[in-house]
């Protein structure tokens, strides 16, 4: 499982394939205000990134994958855990 709910934080783990988009949407829609933690995430499928762009949850970084950190993170409301 790559979409893991821990309290109010949804953690993405490893590479997130297209199927994770649906799981992520479900987690975000059932309780608005949850944050998404990318620190343990690998490469994200476009569909997953689209969820982050559309629903604009608070995102916790830095992202685990350099491409995501370099090109995607700047597009998201990012809070850096340090």
């Amino acid at each position: 499982m790559t979409v893991v709910l821990e309290g109010d934080i949804i953690r993405l783990r490893g590479d997130c394939p297209v199927a994770d988009a649906e799981a992520l949407v479900a987690r975000l829609q059932e309780a608005p205000g949850r944050a998404v933690d990318l620190t343990g995430a690998g490469m994200l499928h476009t569909a997953v990134v689209q969820v982050l762009l559309a629903l604009q949850p608070q995102v916790v970084g830095p992202a685990g994958h350099p491409f995501v950190e370099r090109w995607i993170a700047p597009l998201l409301p990012m809070r850096r855990s340090g």
């Binding site: 988009a21 829609q29 476009t46 969820v51 762009l53 559309a54 629903l55 995607i72 597009l75």
Partner: protein, 654 residues
């Protein structure tokens, strides 16, 4: 055919034509930034849409042509540097490729090598290893989105360009259902070498969070890269139709305002309608005219019962008649297009032909605004192309012969059209050597086309007509062009198929003129409907001199036939049943019904079993199996749905 492909072929040809015209105008009228821009835009647009199909060699060649035009626009290549030839050659090749692609769905195998050569010739126009100069004039940005993207990354772009790199802007619009197809657009972006900037935007505004669907891709991705365009295209090779590439001009970001296309692009108020729909409309109007014809006899019948009502109905019928006629003319007019649609293709082809044969030619077109039916205009392309090539190939003499004859070095070829009532007149004239009737007779003899006696009997005009005989060619040497054309007999056949005729006149030493006379359009024919036995036929009213009821006793047997006296002349009498090969029937009653028709200069009586009404009909030429039948000039649909065969009386009597 796939609608997308059909549209692409139409637009592709228009764009090629536009670019050709612009370039030829440049050659004729000298430097014109507007023409140059127009040619560039056309080539650029075509190059963009070529990517949708499997036309890689064409795409590459067009790309090279686009680069050359852009360089000329930016004054990095001298406008007088001879860039026209390779660009025009490229446009010509593209036109041929489109034809091949339409017919076979693929490019010919030779296209790869041909494309490579075109590309090399085009690249040869460019200054060696061109790097856009920083101090040159500032070219306008090709598109607004690329400009906006570049502006957001001004520093990165300036740094890359400062280091001598070319920056390419990419816009990628993934299909909405691309996730189902297994696409991962970001993975492609990640594979993009030398990424300088990446932007991701929703294509349409995001819906409220509760309504968001993760399965539909609503993203637009834009990027800047310093990788060569080919490498970028390779990354997106499976989604070529979803990306747009634009090379950023150097120092583009220095321009703060975005230059948009559109100047000089007057939006023509034109509706593009499938020709088949117009034809359907024409059919309906034709049927309406037939239905209207029935009204006249109805009015007459009503008038016999009630004169007042009959008159009112007749008035109404007259109004209907006028309106139907006007409608018919209007619909016919919809099919009318200017000859320029065909003529405009010739200047570039003539330029090619002249270059191929090494003969300087001044080619003039007059009267290309004359209009004719679309079928006529389109059908004229092949025969005229052959005549024009002939004029350059066989008509215009080689330079030494022209010099010896004290003619200007540049040969004159003129294509001229004019309207003459319901016909159009098209002539192809050259100021070349002309045809020598004696040489034609000799050639006909050599080829055994006619017996020596028959040849000796030909006057000069008839000798000139020999060029239209199948298998006749006057060229003493076979040139590169002769091999791919059709003979003059094919020209004659093509023109006759359009309902026209060809003739040729020539002044030895002074030139040759070929004249084509063609109908402008299909027209309504008034016919008289007659009856033979149970069969009904139409006879065009202009062929009928008069209709007579004649006591049978006044018909005299003469020799093997019959004759009668009308207005103090003795006229031969023929029975239509015999002419049509119908079984002979004895005369009924004491009165014969006959028509006097013109056959050449001689009036002839044609006996029928009955006359009925006159009708305005939309005559269609015979097609298919019936087209070879002698004595029929066409068919028409009648109000009751039956087909009326219309007879060609002179041919029938023949």
């Amino acid at each position: 055919m796939d609608e997308l492909l059909a549209q692409f072929l139409i637009e592709g040809r228009e764009l090629l034509q536009q670019a050709s015209e612009d370039l030829l105008a440049l050659e004729r009228e000298g430097h014109s930034p507007a023409r140059l821009d127009s040619a560039f835009r056309a080539v650029h647009t075509l190059k963009g849409s070529v990517g949708l199909f499997d036309l890689a060699p064409m795409g590459k060649a067009l790309h090279a042509a686009e680069d050359v035009l852009d360089a000329v626009r930016g004054q990095r290549v001298d406008a007088g540097s001879g860039f026209l030839d390779p660009v025009l050659a490229c446009l010509g090749a593209c036109e041929a490729w489109l034809d091949a692609f339409e017919r076979h769905g693929v490019l010919p195998p030779s296209a790869v090598e041909q494309g490579r050569q075109l590309e090399a010739a085009l690249r040869g126009c460019m200054p060696g290893a061109e790097v856009p100069g920083l101090d040159g004039p500032v070219p306008a940005l090709p598109t607004d989105w690329a400009a906006a993207l570049a502006a957001t990354q001004a520093e990165a772009v300036a740094a890359a360009q400062g280091a001598g790199m070319t920056v390419t802007a990419l816009r990628y619009l993934p299909d909405a259902d691309c996730f189902f197809l297994g696409d991962d657009p970001l993975a492609l972006m990640r594979g993009l070498p030398e990424l300088v900037a990446l932007r991701i935007e929703p294509r349409s505004p995001w819906p409220p969070a509760a309504e968001f669907s993760p399965f539909t891709c609503n993203l637009m991705l834009e990027a800047l890269s310093t990788a060569p365009e080919e490498e970028i295209r390779r990354v997106f090779r499976f989604v070529p139709d979803q990306i747009t590439l634009v090379e950023l001009p150097a120092s583009a970001i220095a321009t703060t305002t975005v230059a948009l296309d559109g100047a000089g692009e007057a939006s023509a108020r034109v509706l593009r309608v499938d020709a088949a729909r117009i034809d359907r409309l024409l059919d309906v109007v034709g049927e309406m005219m037939v239905a209207k014809n029935a009204l006249a006899s109805l009015a007459a019948r009503v008038g016999a019962i009630d004169a007042g009502l009959g008159r009112a109905l007749a008035d109404n019928q007259a109004a209907m008649e006028r309106l139907a006629g006007e409608m018919h003319r209007t619909v016919i007019g919809l099919r009318m297009v200017p000859l320029s649609q065909t003529f405009r293709r010739f200047p570039r082809l003539m330029r090619e032909t002249a270059a191929e044969l090494g003969k300087p030619i001044d080619f003039q077109i007059h009267g290309d605004d004359v209009e004719a039916d679309k079928a006529v205009v389109e059908g004229l392309f092949q025969p005229l192309l052959h005549l024009l090539r002939n004029a350059v190939d066989h008509g215009i003499e080689a330079a030494p012969r022209r010099a010896a004859a004290a003619k200007p070095a540049t040969g004159q070829v003129t294509l001229r059209a004019s309207r003459r009532g319901d016909q159009i007149l098209v002539t192809v004239a050259d100021d070349g050597a002309g045809l020598d009737p004696a040489a034609l007779r000799a050639a006909a003899l050599r080829r055994g086309l006619l017996t020596p006696t028959a040849i000796a009997a030909l006057d000069d005009a008839a000798a000139l007509d020999l060029v239209f005989a199948p298998g006749f060619s006057t060229a003493s040497t076979v040139t590169a062009l002769s091999g791919r054309g059709v003979g003059m007999d094919a020209v004659r056949t093509a023109v006759e198929d359009l309902g026209g005729r060809v003739s040729l006149s020539s002044v030895p030493g002074g030139g040759t003129t070929v004249q084509l006379v063609l109908p402008r359009a299909t027209v309504v024919t008034t016919v008289l409907v007659i009856r033979v036995g149970e069969e009904r036929f139409g006879i065009p009213i202009e062929a009928v001199v008069e209709s007579l009821r004649l006591p049978v006793a006044m018909i005299q047997p003469i020799g093997g036939g019959e004759a009668f006296v009308s207005r103090d002349r003795t006229l031969p009498l023929l029975r239509l049943a015999d002419l049509l090969g119908l079984p002979p029937r004895p005369r009924q009653g004491t009165v014969a019904r006959l028509l006097v028709v013109r056959c050449g200069d001689q009036p002839v009586g044609i006996e029928v079993d009955g006359f009925s009404e006159r009708m305005d009909l939309l005559l269609r030429p015979m097609s298919g199996l019936l087209s070879g039948m002698a004595g029929l000039s066409g068919s028409a649909l009648m109000a009751d749905g039956r087909v009326l065969l219309v007879l060609d009386v002179p041919e029938l009597v023949g």
